[in-house]
C-alpha cells in the first residue's frame, strides 16, 4: 500500500467499510439473479455519488474534490474487492478524464459538475470488434450542417446501456489503423440515430453494442486530433481498471488463504501442504509487485506525468496476469466447492476474464510496452 495522506486514508477506510457492508459480493449475485439486465444497482451508485466518489478527480472549480487518481484508485480497489458493479470507472474516471483533458470550458462547465455529483453516467465508445484496438476506428463522422453526423457501430461499450452521455471515438479522416484522423464526440444516446443493444457478458455487468445512423455528435477536443486525448484517457482507464482488478485479486486471494487455513484433507489443514504454501507465496509476490506498478502509475498521473503509456501497459499487463492466476488458483484450491455457482469463486473468475480483455489483455500490453520502449 502506498504511503497515504490523511485524506486518502479516510477515503480508503470509508470505501472499505461501505463496500464490505453496503455492497458485498452478494449484491452482484442478487443483481445477476434478478434477471433485470441492469448493469448496476442505481441506489448504490447514488450512495457513491453522495459520498463524493464520482468527483474525486474532478477539479474543484467544477464541483469535484480533486483528490486525484491515487485516491480514486483506492476506492476502485475497495469496490473491486467486493465485485461492486457501478459506473465508477466509466464515469468518475473515464468520463471525468475525457472531459477534463479534452473538453472546452463550456463542455466542462456543462458536464463535469453532473459527473461530480453522480447525476449522470458516461460511457466511452471506442472498440468496434472483440479485441481492443483503439487505432482501428472505422466509425465515420461527417460534417452535417454546423455539426457532425456519426455512422457506424461500437461494441462492448462498458456501461453503454445505462449511459446518459456517450463519448465516441470516430474517424474524420485517414483510415483504420491510423491514429491521426480520429475525433472524439459527445453524443446524446437518447437522440435519434442511436440504438443500443445489451450484451450479456460473463461478469453480469453492463456492456452494449451501439449503432449510430447519422447521429448528431458534438466535437470534444480538436478535429482529427482525438488520439491526443483518447490515448491518455485510455491509459487512465487501464490504470484505474488495474486498481479495481488488484482489489478483486486480493479478495480472491484472501478468501483462498482463509480456505487453506481451515479446510482439512487426510487429517491435515491443507494450508500446511508445502506445494500450496509456495503457490500462495508466489501469488502474494505477484500481488505485491503488481500493486507497486499500479500505485506508481496512479501517483505519476497525480504528479502531472504526461506520458503514461509504459506505466499503463505495465499495470494492465500485470493486473491481467495476476487476475488470471489468482482466480484459477482460487477454484483449484477450493476443489469441487469452487466449481459450484453458490460459491463466489466463479464470480471472481468470470469478472477476471472480462477485465483481462478490457482495454487490452496481457499480450496486447506486452506488445505495446515493447513498442513504446523502442524494441
Amino acid at each position: 500500500m502506498a504511503v497515504l495522506n490523511e485524506e486518502q486514508t479516510m477515503l480508503r477506510d470509508a470505501a472499505k467499510s461501505w463496500a464490505q457492508e453496503a455492497s458485498p459480493v452478494s449484491k452482484l449475485r442478487a443483481l445477476r439473479d434478478s434477471g433485470s439486465g441492469a448493469p448496476f444497482d442505481a441506489a448504490a451508485w447514488a450512495e457513491m455519488g453522495q459520498m463524493g466518489w464520482a468527483g474525486v478527480i474532478v477539479p474543484e472549480d467544477f464541483g469535484g474534490s480533486a483528490f486525484g487518481y491515487l485516491s480514486l484508485g483506492l476506492i476502485l480497489e475497495e469496490t473491486g474487492r467486493t465485485l461492486t458493479a457501478s459506473p465508477l470507472l466509466s464515469t468518475a474516471l473515464i468520463g471525468a478524464s475525457a472531459l477534463t483533458l479534452g473538453g472546452s470550458d463550456a463542455q466542462k462547465a456543462q458536464w463535469l459538475p453532473k459527473i461530480a455529483e453522480g447525476a449522470i453516467v458516461t460511457a466511452l465508445a471506442v472498440d468496434e470488434a472483440a479485441h481492443h484496438a483503439p487505432e482501428r476506428i472505422a466509425l465515420k463522422a461527417e460534417k452535417s450542417g454546423d455539426g457532425y453526423a456519426l455512422t457506424g457501430k461500437k461494441t462492448f461499450v462498458i456501461d453503454g446501456d445505462a449511459a446518459d452521455l456517450l463519448i465516441v471515438a470516430a474517424r474524420t479522416s485517414g483510415k483504420p489503423g491510423e491514429t491521426a484522423g480520429i475525433t472524439l464526440f459527445l453524443v446524446d444516446p437518447a437522440a435519434s440515430g442511436v440504438s443500443r443493444k445489451h450484451l450479456a457478458l460473463a461478469d453480469s455487468r453492463g456492456a452494449a453494442e451501439i449503432t449510430f445512423s447519422g447521429a448528431a455528435g458534438e466535437v470534444l477536443g480538436a478535429v482529427d486530433k482525438g488520439w491526443d486525448v483518447l490515448e491518455p484517457v485510455l491509459d487512465r482507464a487501464r490504470i484505474g481498471l488495474s486498481a479495481e482488478m488488484l482489489g478483486s485479486a486480493l479478495q480472491a486471494f484472501e478468501i483462498t488463504l482463509d480456505y487453506l487455513k481451515t479446510r482439512t484433507q487426510f487429517g491435515q489443514v491443507i494450508g500446511t501442504f508445502q506445494s500450496l504454501q509456495h503457490r500462495a507465496a508466489k501469488m502474494f509476490t505477484d500481488l505485491e509487485t503488481t500493486r507497486s506498478c499500479i500505485e506508481a502509475a496512479l501517483e505519476a498521473i497525480d504528479a502531472g506525468s504526461t506520458d503514461n503509456r509504459a506505466a499503463a501497459s505495465i499495470a494492465k499487463c500485470k493486473a491481467s496476469e495476476l487476475a488470471h492466476l489468482v482466480t484459477n488458483e482460487m477454484v483449484q484450491m477450493h476443489g469441487g466447492i469452487g466449481m459450484t455457482d453458490v460459491h463466489d469463486a466463479g464470480l471472481f473468475l468470470k469478472r477476471a476474464r472480462v477485465t483481462e480483455q478490457l482495454f487490452g489483455g496481457a499480450g496486447y500490453h506486452r506488445d505495446r510496452f515493447a513498442t513504446v520502449s523502442g524494441f
Binding site: A130, A200, L201, Q265, N328, G336, G338, R353, Q357
Partner: protein, 402 residues
C-alpha cells in the same frame, strides 16, 4: 477372442462397412436437435429424433455398444484389432455414438472382474442394451480428495442392508436408474471398512438435488439416502472389500480419460478462432505474434499428449506392465484442456465472454462454458495435486513427509 490376421481383419472391415451402410440412420447425420438425443440410455431416454434410439437398439443387438465384452453377457466379443476396425469405420462415417454409458466405461469392467455369475447375468446385458443408466456414488460432502474417508453408513439388517448418508458430485444422478455406490460397513477401519453396492435410484429414501456449476449447467447432484433398503445380493465382492474395487474402477475411469483427453476436439478450434477474430498477416500468420506463440506451444503439447497416450498403450500392450507414462496422463490431460479452452476464449476476445443472448454464436457461448467447465478437470477423479503426489511417491519413489 479370435486372433485375426490381416486378411480376416479386412473381411471384417467390409462386413462392418456394409452393416453400417444398411443400419446407420441417415437422419443422424444432421446435428442433434437438442440435448435429449445424447445417447445416455436408461428409462428416461426419449430423444426428439427417435432414430437415436433405433441406432442404439441396432448397435446393442450386435453387442457393439460394448464391443469387447463377452457375447454371453450381450457384448460384441471382438478382439482389440477388430474393435479398432469398428472404431475406425464409425469415425469414417462420422457416426454419432450409439451409447454413452458409465455402465460400459466404468461399472461393467469391474463387474466382469469381481461380480458373481448371477450379478453379471443380471446387470451386464442391461448395460449393453442401454436399458439401465448408471451413476457413481463415490464423493461425499467435505471429503474432497480423501475418498476413503467416506461416511455413508450401510448396516446389515439381516435380510437386507440399510443405507443412510449423503453423496455429492454424483454425475447425472437425477437422470440415472441405478447407482454403484461406496458405503461404510465398518466404522472401526478406514480403507478396510468400505463396501461396493448397487441399488435402484427409484428405491424409497433416495433423493437427488442438482448442483449448479459456474458454467451454468448442472451435470452433478447432491444425493441423499434415508433408510434405503438394499437386497444383500446387490453387494459386489466381499463385505468390507470395496476399496479394491473402487480403486480398480477409478483406473478404468482414468483410462477412459487417457483415450481421448478431456474435451477432445469439440467446439471451436483455437486456430480458427484466432484467425477469425485476430486476423492474419501478409504471410498467413495469426496477426498477434504473442498469441500465436502460445497457441503453437499448446498445439505441440496437444500432439505430445496424443503421442504419449499412444505410446503408453503400445507399451502396455507389449506386456511390459503398465507404462510409467500412464501416471501422468490425467494431470497432463487436465492441463491441456484448460489451456485449450482458455486460449480459445482469449482468441475470441470479448466475443468469447458472452453469457447468453443472440449477440453471441452458440459456439462462442459454448467456448466460454467449456473453459469454465474445464476448471473441474484438475479436480474431478483425483486432483492434479493428488496426481503429482502419486507420481512423486509411487513412480519416482520419493517418501512421505515425516
Amino acid at each position: 477372442m479370435a486372433d485375426f490376421g490381416a486378411t480376416e481383419l479386412e473381411t471384417f472391415r467390409i462386413e462392418v462397412r456394409d452393416w453400417l451402410a444398411a443400419n446407420y440412420p441417415p437422419s443422424l447425420n444432421a446435428p442433434m436437435d437438442d440435448e435429449s438425443e445424447s445417447p445416455w440410455g436408461g428409462r428416461r431416454f426419449n430423444p426428439t429424433n427417435k432414430d437415436a434410439k433405433l441406432w442404439l437398439d441396432r448397435m446393442a443387438a450386435k453387442g457393439w455398444t460394448a464391443p469387447m465384452w463377452p457375447t454371453e453377457y450381450g457384448g460384441g466379443g471382438l478382439s482389440r484389432e477388430q474393435n479398432k476396425v469398428l472404431e475406425s469405420e464409425l469415425r469414417r462415417i462420422k457416426a454419432r455414438p450409439a451409447l454413452m454409458s458409465f455402465g460400459v466405461w466404468m461399472l461393467g469392467p469391474v463387474l466382469l472382474e469381481y461380480a458373481t455369475e448371477e450379478q453379471k447375468q443380471k446387470f451386464l446385458p442391461g448395460i449393453v442394451k442401454g436399458e439401465t443408466r448408471w451413476c457413481q456414488g463415490y464423493s461425499e460432502p467435505g471429503a474432497g480428495s480423501d475418498l476413503a474417508g467416506l461416511q455413508t453408513r450401510c448396516e446389515d439388517k439381516g435380510d437386507h442392508f440399510l443405507i443412510n448418508g449423503q453423496k455429492v458430485w454424483t454425475s447425472y444422478a437425477d437422470q440415472a436408474d441405478w447407482i454403484f455406490c461406496l458405503v461404510r460397513t465398518d466404522t472401526g477401519k478406514k480403507h478396510e471398512g468400505i463396501s461396493f453396492v448397487l441399488f435402484d435410484m427409484a428405491s424409497e429414501g433416495v433423493e437427488t438435488r442438482p448442483i449448479k456449476l459456474i458454467s451454468g449447467s448442472s451435470p452433478f447432484c447432491e444425493t441423499f439416502f434415508t433408510d434405503v433398503k438394499v437386497p444383500k445380493d446387490q453387494l459386489v465382492g466381499k463385505l468390507n472389500g470395496g476399496w479394491e474395487i473402487a480403486k480398480r474402477l477409478l483406473q478404468y475411469e482414468r483410462q477412459n480419460i487417457s483415450a481421448g483427453g478431456f474435451g477432445g476436439g469439440a467446439g471451436i478450434d483455437v486456430v480458427d478462432a484466432a484467425k477469425d477474430h485476430v486476423g492474419v498477416d501478409e504471410k498467413g500468420r495469426i496477426a498477434d505474434a504473442d498469441l500465436r506463440a502460445r497457441i503453437s506451444t499448446h498445439k505441440m503439447d496437444s500432439a505430445a499428449f496424443q503421442l504419449t497416450v499412444r505410446r503408453a498403450e503400445a507399451e502396455g500392450k507389449a506386456s511390459k506392465g503398465p507404462s510409467a507414462a500412464t501416471s501422468i496422463i490425467k494431470y497432463a490431460a487436465a492441463k491441456l484442456n484448460q489451456d485449450r479452452t482458455e486460449l480459445t476464449v482469449e482468441a475470441l476476445g470479448l466475443q468469447g465472454l458472452g453469457w447468453e443472448g443472440d449477440s453471441f454464436q452458440p459456439a462462442e457461448i459454448g467456448a466460454l462454458r467449456s473453459m469454465l467447465r474445464a476448471k473441474a478437470n484438475s479436480i474431478e477423479g483425483g486432483t492434479s495435486e493428488i496426481n503429482l503426489n502419486v507420481v512423486a511417491k509411487r513412480v519416482l519413489g520419493l517418501l512421505d513427509h515425516q
